[in-house]
């Protein structure tokens, strides 16, 4: 390495130093710290006390923790598939390049921009409140509305519907994927007499499968980390049916100040997400189609 190269390297690192420092201080350090804290009892006010694997054992007998697992799995396994199906559907509709396509895409993407926000969550409360919009409309049709947020079997569905409504970003990715499929395949299929549904099953889905895999993984990760909506709309109730993992973790960390316990929870969540991501990857060779078969 000559002087010039070394100088360039130093300058290079200097230029990216803000991000490096950010990574070390705000990402790597907290990760390590939380791993260590997971083996301690730490209430913030007094120094952490080493308790070994106690926190992990307590997870086994914490019924609210089990409720939170149940709620989170329920949410992930309903909201994620529904959102993906919905996103794909809308992407199919928006695929043809008409004159207003850009406008429609913009409009359909809009909910995702605002959907995660606190404001929408507050509006959602009103919409599904016992004197909210939904019950008002039902009332006009002569149907007595439910107490959506107070009923243990419907409360989580208000959150799932909100999640499905935010289909924008997977939709855009699907749209890009759909545009990549060569028209010649469809043309050849039509000549051979394949109808719309057959084309969808035999051409669109296999050609789109890498994109589906990507979306699936991103949405699974997102789904497990759901927080804001439940925090504002239901605060975990009724009967813990919407007590999502992150919400309970937050309550443990910042309301009960059991930082060690919360850290242990965070690491379990990491393992759960890693497991399902790995599962998606492993299963992909049975259903994901790459054009260059050898080089996948």
């Amino acid at each position: 390495m000559n002087k010039r190269e070394r100088y360039n390297n130093v300058m290079g690192y200097l230029f990216i130093s803000p991000w490096l420092i950010g990574f070390f201080i705000f990402t790597l350090f907290p990760i390590i710290a939380s791993f260590i804290l997971a083996f301690t009892r730490y209430d913030v006010l007094s120094p952490p006390r080493w308790i070994g694997i106690d926190n992990w054992f307590r997870l086994l007998e914490d019924t609210r923790y089990h409720n939170s697992l149940k709620a989170t799995f329920y949410y992930v396994f309903t909201a994620v598939p529904l959102r993906l199906i919905f996103a794909l559907l809308v992407a199919m509709l928006l695929k043809p390049s008409t004159r207003l396509a850009g406008l429609y895409r913009g409009i359909y993407y809009l909910p995702s921009l605002i959907g995660g926000s606190v404001a929408v969550a507050v509006v959602w409360r009103q919409v599904f409140g016992s004197e909210g919009l939904i019950n008002f409309i039902l009332g006009m049709m002569g149907i007595k509305g439910l107490n959506w947020l107070g009923n243990p079997s419907t409360a989580i569905w208000t959150l799932i519907i909100l999640a499905v409504w935010q289909f924008g970003s997977p939709m855009l990715i699907f749209l890009a994927g759909l545009k990549q499929i060569p028209d010649s395949l469809y043309e050849a299929a039509s000549i051979d007499g394949a109808k719309g549904w057959d084309q969808f099953i035999k051409i669109t889905l296999p050609m789109l499968s890498p994109v589906i895999l990507f979306n699936l993984i991103m949405q699974i990760i997102n789904g497990f980390m759901v927080f804001t909506q439940a925090y504002i709309i239901t605060s975990g109730g009724p009967l813990d049916t919407t007590l999502f993992y992150s919400l309970y973790l937050y309550q443990k960390a910042f309301q009960s100040f059991e930082m060690g316990y919360a850290s242990a929870m965070a690491w379990v969540l990491l393992m759960i997400i890693a497991f399902f991501t790995a599962l998606a990857f492993k299963s992909s060779r049975f259903w994901v189609y790459y054009e260059s078969e050898e080089g996948k």
Partner: protein, 429 residues
């Protein structure tokens, strides 16, 4: 060229560093933190302005939030050794903070007269005492009460609650209100952070926690079962909002309380909250009744006087003397109290109480009257909740109340589960 640029950068850096240091040397700055509603923020900020006018060399930096975020923030600041100078404190946490050395004893400033407590009765000072030393100055006196709407009572032809009324009277009144007017008899008594259950126990002669804070304070689970049978009965009659309704309502702003919108004739409140609620109810007259007593012969009173909140000086403060002066200003300045207007509860200085009278609105006057009524019908304040009490309320009490009122578990079973779980939490600490 390079040197020139870096030279400027260094200069800029020095400037920013110095600009933060310099003014602190000429002027003393104090950080003051409190929790509360918007109304409290406005009042406190005005009082701070008055203080700064009186002491031009002291600059106050206020930090205010709502109750929940307040303790998150304060605990984090404590860990980062970055606490404000003066913090608003609560009876539940004061002893913990004092034993950890996070707040300073104020006796030195009291004996020097920097905090003047000459017109304050001893029983107003004692709540802030831990181990014989004063760690917090009471900002106002409170008691839990049943707020009622006299208009609605008259409409239903029901006499007002009397001193010494019991939960049986309450059941009857609430049910009659429901049947006559088609509105709820009372709201906010089900979960209530276990507050109502605590005074229910108190009136029976017990408390939720034992003296040492290591176990449950009552022996007979019948007390637990009776309480929830009462609630279940009221819920089934529609005399209180069902658990579904309450959960769907979520955490409420005062504007959405049923007592404000006249959908309920009674509601549970701390006495100082009457000011905010009356404001939301457009100053419609609302009145306080004492908490109902246990339905047993020789029931004890179900009220106690509580310091609504304290001001404490943190041990990380660099200017404890000025911090003490600030607290004194809140306690003894008539000007300040005219602005604060007992929003934190009845002021502890008897002088201020008297001089404030002409300036009170009707809701504040009702609060003053109620607190003095409660004083005559009260038990001494129970010991502060043991560490772990937050855990008990959030992770045992609230879930179990929901399970009972949703009908998922019987009160008998719940009583046993409650005892098991609470005991476990208390003994872990």
């Amino acid at each position: 060229m390079h040197k020139w640029v870096s030279g400027i950068l260094v200069l800029l850096m020095c400037l920013t560093v110095f600009s933060t240091i310099l003014p602190a040397q000429e002027k003393i700055s104090l950080r003051v933190a409190w929790w509360g509603s918007q109304d409290r923020h406005n009042r406190t900020l005005k009082a701070i302005e008055l203080f700064e006018k009186k002491y031009p060399n002291i600059k106050i930096y206020p930090e205010y939030t709502a109750w929940n975020d307040y303790w998150t923030k304060l605990n984090t600041q404590a860990a980062g050794k970055n606490l404000p100078d003066v913090i608003q404190h609560d009876y539940a946490y004061l002893s913990e903070w004092a034993t950890r050395g996070l707040v300073l004893p104020l006796d030195e400033y009291i004996s020097k007269g920097i905090i003047d407590l000459s017109s304050v009765a001893e029983n107003q000072i004692s709540p802030g005492k831990i181990g014989g030393k004063v760690y917090g100055i009471n900002l106002g006196t409170n008691s839990l009460g049943m707020l009622y709407d006299p208009e609605l009572f008259k409409k239903a032809g029901i006499p007002f609650p009397k001193v010494g009324w019991t939960w049986n009277d309450f059941r009857e009144i609430a049910t009659r209100l429901k049947n006559k007017l088609g509105i709820y008899g009372a709201e906010a008594i089900t979960k209530a952070d276990a507050q109502v259950f605590k005074v229910w126990l108190m009136s029976h002669g017990y408390w939720l926690y034992s003296e040492d804070g290591k176990s449950i304070g009552y022996k007979d689970d019948k007390l637990f079962v009776d309480w929830f049978n009462l609630l279940l009965d009221l819920q089934s009659k529609g005399a209180i909002p069902s658990i579904e309704t309450d959960i769907a309502r979520g955490t409420l702003g005062v504007e959405d309380m049923f007592i404000v919108t006249q959908k309920s004739a009674m509601g549970l409140l701390w006495s100082n909250q009457i000011v905010a609620v009356s404001k939301a109810a457009k100053e419609r007259p609302l009145r306080f009744a004492l908490m109902p007593r246990a339905p047993i012969p020789n029931a004890k009173p179900a009220n106690y006087l509580k310091a609504s909140q304290f001001f404490s000086v943190t041990s990380q403060s660099k200017h404890p003397k000025e911090a003490a002066m600030f607290i004194d200003f809140f306690t003894n300045s008539l000007e300040a109290n005219k602005v604060l207007l007992a929003e934190r509860g009845v002021p502890i200085s008897s002088k201020i109480q008297k001089s404030l009278l002409p300036f009170l609105g009707s809701s504040q006057r009702e609060m003053f009257n109620f607190v003095s009524l409660a004083e005559k019908n009260s038990l001494p304040i129970p010991p502060p909740d043991p560490p772990g009490a937050t855990d008990v309320v959030n992770n045992v009490w609230n879930p179990i109340v929901e399970q009972i009122l949703y009908g998922r578990i019987t009160p008998d079973k719940a009583a046993v589960e409650f005892r098991d779980k609470v005991t476990k939490i208390l003994q872990q600490r």
